[in-house]
């Protein structure tokens, strides 16, 4: 597989977009990955699933506004330059 740095940036943008579109109420709660389920207590080890849920929620919260900007720029650039 031949990668360029541009391919890495594209892949990263698509990946973050994919995390951002996981809707909290309609989807994650049905799967059992909602953030109000199963955090459970003040135990020392949160476990991998709780860490993943935390990561998804924090990525969605933090990257919502920058993603709008980066997506708009990418759309404009791809329209102009193909």
């Amino acid at each position: 597989m031949a990668f360029t740095l541009y391919a890495l940036l594209q892949a990263a943008l698509l990946f973050v977009n994919a995390i951002a579109v996981l809707h909290e109420e309609r989807f994650l709660r049905n799967v059992g990955w909602g953030t109000d389920q199963g955090i459970g207590g003040f135990g020392e080890e949160p476990g991998i699933k709780a860490q993943l849920m935390n990561l998804i929620r924090s990525v969605r919260t933090v990257m919502r506004v920058p993603l709008i900007a980066v997506n708009s720029i990418t759309i404009v650039l791809l329209l102009l330059f193909g």
Partner: protein, 298 residues
């Protein structure tokens, strides 16, 4: 060595001196002092330049412009430094390049034959880890960067020997190798976050550990070039085993909780996850080495 006449502690500022009088060499200086500005003592062409500068600086407008320009330059330099400092600490980066020849030779020998090494701990001095010059177990970024450049050159040679060379392929090879290391560092960071291990592994440490595989790649490609396909597989097997052992021992030393001197000796539940991360990282190395080199020794 005409240049040396103009530099040195006192020679450059005194324009009245004859241009060919050499100042006494300072034995304590390792490098020549170049802070005194442009060379005056270069003979008659320099005196012509002196006259030109004299008339230029006598003009008050040019004076103001020069002063303004230099203040703008220093301001923007400060801004750039501040911005860079926000993203990465340059001091932290300098730590990784504080190496010397003895360290590099011992570390290369360690990367290729780590089975005899006994003590894998990184020694500290007053809460800061020792520089690579003083501690062989410390990770550095010099070997990975040099090995990366050597790998690119070797890839060019290998492709050229097979009549498959073109400059675009070289750039593609370089960026592919770099991107794979970046992906591996990101995957390692993600998995370390998920198993909630508390260690002092910075992203630069992980970059250093991932970059050590370039040494293995260089040896594999060399083996393939010198001894054909058999040599490639033998070198690949040897360097893969050595690299896996090296990485497993180093990461275990850095991640294992009972070796962290924090006063709590009870075993933590995350130990199993840490073992998985270490073993997984070690197991991925031969795969990436193979993936990045097999197309060069076809």
């Amino acid at each position: 060595m005409a240049y040396h006449q103009g530099y040195g502690g006192q020679g450059s500022k005194h324009r009245g001196r004859g241009p060919l009088v050499p100042p006494a060499p300072d034995p304590h200086q390792l490098f020549d002092d170049t802070s005194a500005g442009f060379p005056h003592a270069q003979g008659t062409p320099a005196s012509g330049i002196d006259m030109g500068f004299n008339t230029l600086l006598a003009d008050p407008m040019a004076n103001v412009a020069v002063a303004y320009g230099s203040s703008i330059a220093s301001q923007s330099k400060d801004i750039v430094h501040k911005e860079i400092h926000r993203f990465m600490s340059v001091n932290r980066l300098k730590y990784f390049f504080a190496v010397d020849t003895a360290y590099v030779t011992k570390k290369l020998a360690l990367l290729l034959f780590p089975y005899a090494h006994q003590n894998w701990e990184v020694r500290y001095s007053r809460d800061t880890p020792l520089t690579p010059r003083q501690d062989i177990n410390a990770p550095d970024l010099y070997i990975p960067s040099m090995a990366f450049i050597t790998y690119i050159l070797l890839a060019g040679i290998a492709l050229g020997l097979q009549q498959r060379f073109s400059p675009e392929v070289l750039g593609m090879c370089a960026s592919t190798a770099f991107v794979w290391v970046i992906i591996e560092v990101l995957a390692l960071l993600l998995s370390l976050y998920l198993v909630t291990v508390q260690s002092d592994l910075t992203p630069f440490d992980l970059l250093a550990f991932s970059g050590y595989k370039y040494v293995g790649m260089i040896l594999a490609v060399l083996g393939g070039l010198l001894f054909g396909s058999d040599g490639y597989y033998v070198a690949l097997a040897w360097t893969s085993c050595a690299l896996m052992y090296f990485l497993a021992r180093s990461l275990r030393m850095k991640l294992h909780p009972s070796l962290v001197p924090d006063g709590m000796g009870h075993p933590r539940g995350g130990g199993r996850g840490q073992t998985y991360v270490t073993l997984g990282a070690a197991a991925c190395q031969p795969l990436i080495v193979y993936w990045l080199t097999f197309h060069l020794v076809r």
